[in-house]
Amino acid sequence: MNTAHLRRKIDSAHVGQVGNLRRIGNPPPVDSRIIYGPIANRPQVTNLPHKMLIRLLLSCIVLGCTAGAQTPDSSQKIQALEHQLAAQRHLLNDWGGLTRFGSENTELRPPAPGESRVVFLGDQITGQWGHGGAKFFPDKPYLNRGIAGQTTAQMLVRFRQDVIALQPKVAVILAGTNDIAGAFGLATEEMIADNIMTMTELAKAHGIRVVLASLTPVCDCFGKPSARRRWQEKIVEVNELLKDYAARSGSVYLDYYSALVEGEDLRKEFTADGILLNDAGYDAIAPLAERAIAEALRKVSL
């Protein structure tokens, strides 16, 4: 069975996809950038669990064929495939990523009187904030709820557990880059905006003010393919939708994009791979986030 067509190497298009696989406990696959299924050729986003089930079954077939014809060096390949299968199974069982912060959340006490708790919801750009040299708002009651590789639809699934249940005064949402990357099928700008609008409405229903962060720019400044040219147009369009919706919904629009961009590209000094921010990048956006939170909190007190 020729399984080559089942695989497609991609660059680090999925923000945190590799990190996500590692996080859920499987040693890095032989080539941890391999995922199943063609990304660019998908005609449309279809039933996701069904697609994942197909991936799972295909993985089983690949495993079975490989196991049936073992060669002396095949055990490593089988092991790598087993790890990939386990990762896919985990994704199928916990697509929303509820197990990442679920236990931790229940150990938090409710905010103290007068405490201005803030939750940062997002993907790996949020998640790795504070993991390098750049601190994540030390001495502030801010919670980081970023999960590598997540799309807006996944964040919507965990919005109650990771935001509403924590009773913050403000939620800072930075989401959509993985949707644009097609992490789980193609997503249009409007689909991204729909999910973010739904999260905003849920927050408002619980008295939580929302800061809508712009998507951050990307670049091909490390010699990667030029696939991100297409991303750049979409990022700008999503940001326009978010800015407009923020004004209509009484939310605060947080413009990270302008602070990080040069022309259409993410400035090279703010990134190590063209997508994720480095310490300098976080240092550049931290004051902007603080100002947006302060503005949102002022709205609370009005």
Binding site: G25, D94, T106, E107
Partner: protein, 516 residues
């Protein structure tokens, strides 16, 4: 007189020098699963372990249950003379006595129920409520040497006291609990028999029962949330406090609800009622409740450095080290130590985590060890200095109990080889006996969703494999390979006098040991 002394000396010399019993699930009321009196099996000869015999018993399985861990009495006076016997319990209200020298049946007792069971068994029947006997009995020596009483809770909720030598009733059956409940391993301390129930089987509440053998009074106490289903039943401290984990339910002590925690209850000496004397709730109890991660493991209690310590665990796959003086500290939420996650990275409530019971022993150097089985893959962030390959389906994990700078901890020491659903180990003379039960533990399937039924799981189950490990290093010394031809569910090991016993779903009791 001289001739008499000589005769006595010869007679005494003929009495086998093994003198080890296994009279209760887990070996003792503290549930340490440590066979301290083992003298025959050792790390040196474990490689020579052979199948000594197996016996097929006629017990009818119910759901996935069949036989429970046998209880071993080293010397019972029978009609045929003194014998070492195994008391084997079958879920269908059967008790068997087997001569362990020959593997032959000595007697069988079937309880004639005073209650008519419904066709479906317990709570709609099903795996969780199989009906029948669900608690391993407990054996107590009588005042006369060679005489023993077997205490059994039958399906109809009656407590039976049988003569171990012939299976005859020593006293009329007495009411212990309502029929069709689901009690777990009986524990006997100071003439009181303790157990607890779970799953609401038969429509009965999940509560602790204590039967006072002197007064025949029954005391009860309930956590008002979640059943108590530590497989080996409760563990009992030196102060007579009975501890157990509680299953799926809210932890809200201010409202008298103690789900997903650990409770300690004690018999009131005057009224014989049971009173709650201590409790503990993990700080993430709400998460445990939401995710069905019960604290469903029988605790283990032991003395170390002047303290009486206890360790317990649950499906989340953490260990909790506690001081029995105050298991959760002043706020009831602070144990001495809480381990990181050992397994269950996928937060799976069916096929991962810690199940059954734990074990503990102390080596010749005074090092105190705690052992736990785990189901499923090892957590990617959990490491031990010595490991034996990838753990996919389960393993035994060994910890040393240590106090460093006034703080207690469980220090990971080794992780065993992979075992298919590793079950609670037993320690005997430096050897750890453990097994993978081979059971299909899945409860949900991609094509049908939740379908926790025996007719799906039984065909998916394979075979149990028994292992002997070096207790210091975890190195495999021996395995039963394919000698055990079936799997098992909800049973355990017993070890005494050079023999290791394991029962399987097909009604066989296997005896492994060193051939003379």
């Amino acid at each position: 007189m001289r001739r008499f002394s000589l005769t006595m000396a010869i007679a005494l010399a003929c009495i086998p020098a093994w003198s080890a019993d296994w009279l209760t699930d887990g070996g003792n009321p503290q549930r340490t699963a440590w066979q301290k009196d083992e003298k025959i099996l050792s790390t040196t000869n474990a490689k020579d372990i052979k199948l000594l015999w197996k016996i097929k018993l006629d017990n009818e399985p119910r759901q996935m249950h069949n036989l429970f861990p046998p209880l071993i009495i080293e010397r019972v006076n029978t009609k045929g003379g003194p014998k070492q016997i195994a008391i084997e319990t079958g879920v269908s209200d059967n008790i068997y006595a087997i001569d362990v020298e020959t593997g032959k049946l000595i007697w069988k007792k079937h309880f004639l129920s005073t209650w008519t069971p419904p066709p479906a068994g317990g709570r709609n029947g099903g795996i969780l409520c199989p009906g029948g006997i669900t608690a391993t009995p407990v054996v107590a020596p009588a005042s006369t040497p060679g005489k023993y009483t077997v205490h059994v809770a039958s399906w109809d909720g009656m407590l039976h006291q049988l003569n171990a030598s012939d299976g005859e009733d020593l006293a009329p059956p007495a009411k212990f609990m309502p029929p069709n409940g689901k009690p777990y391993g009986l524990n006997l301390v100071n003439n009181v028999i303790y157990t607890h129930t779970a799953q609401g089987c038969g429509g009965n509440p999940n509560i602790v029962y204590a039967y006072d053998l002197a007064t025949h009074k029954v005391g009860t106490w309930g956590p008002a949330g979640g059943g108590m289903w530590g497989r080996s039943g409760p563990a009992i401290s030196s102060k007579g406090v009975m501890y157990t984990g509680t299953g799926d339910g809210r932890f809200s002590p201010e409202n008298g609800i103690f789900g997903n925690g650990i409770i300690g209850v004690k018999q009131n000496p005057e009224t014989k009622a049971l009173d709650l004397v201590d409790y503990y709730g993990p700080t993430n109890a709400e998460w445990l409740w939401k995710r069905d991660l019960d604290m469903q493991v029988t605790p283990v209690i032991f003395n170390y450095k002047g303290k009486e310590l206890m360790v317990d665990a649950g499906k989340e796959c953490r260990l909790y080290l506690m001081d029995t003086e105050s298991i959760g500290g002043d706020d009831h939420r602070t144990p001495l130590y809480r381990s990181p996650l050992l397994c269950n990275e996928d937060v799976n409530f069916a096929s991962a985590g810690i199940w059954g019971s734990l074990a503990s022993w102390e080596d010749a150097k005074g090092t105190r060890w705690v052992l736990t089985p785990i189901w499923g893959a090892k957590h990617s962030a959990f490491k031990a200095p010595v490991e034996y390959g990838e753990v996919k389906y389960g393993a035994v994990v060994a910890f040393k109990v240590e106090e460093k700078n006034g703080k207690w901890q469980l220090t990971p020491t080794w992780i065993s080889r992979d075992m298919n659903r590793a079950e609670p180990p037993v320690i005997a003379n430096g050897v750890i006996f453990a097994y993978g039960n081979g059971e299909d533990t899945d409860q949900a399937y991609p094509d049908v969703g939740l379908a926790d039924t025996a007719d799906r799981r039984i065909p998916g189950s394979t075979r149990a494999v028994l292992y002997a490990l070096d207790a210091q290093t975890g190195k495999e010394l021996w395995s039963s390979g394919d000698q055990i031809t079936a799997w098992n569910h909800w049973t355990g090991l017993s070890v005494a006098n050079g023999r290791v016993y394991i029962a399987t779903f097909d009604g066989n009791l296997y005896c492994f040991g060193i051939k003379k």
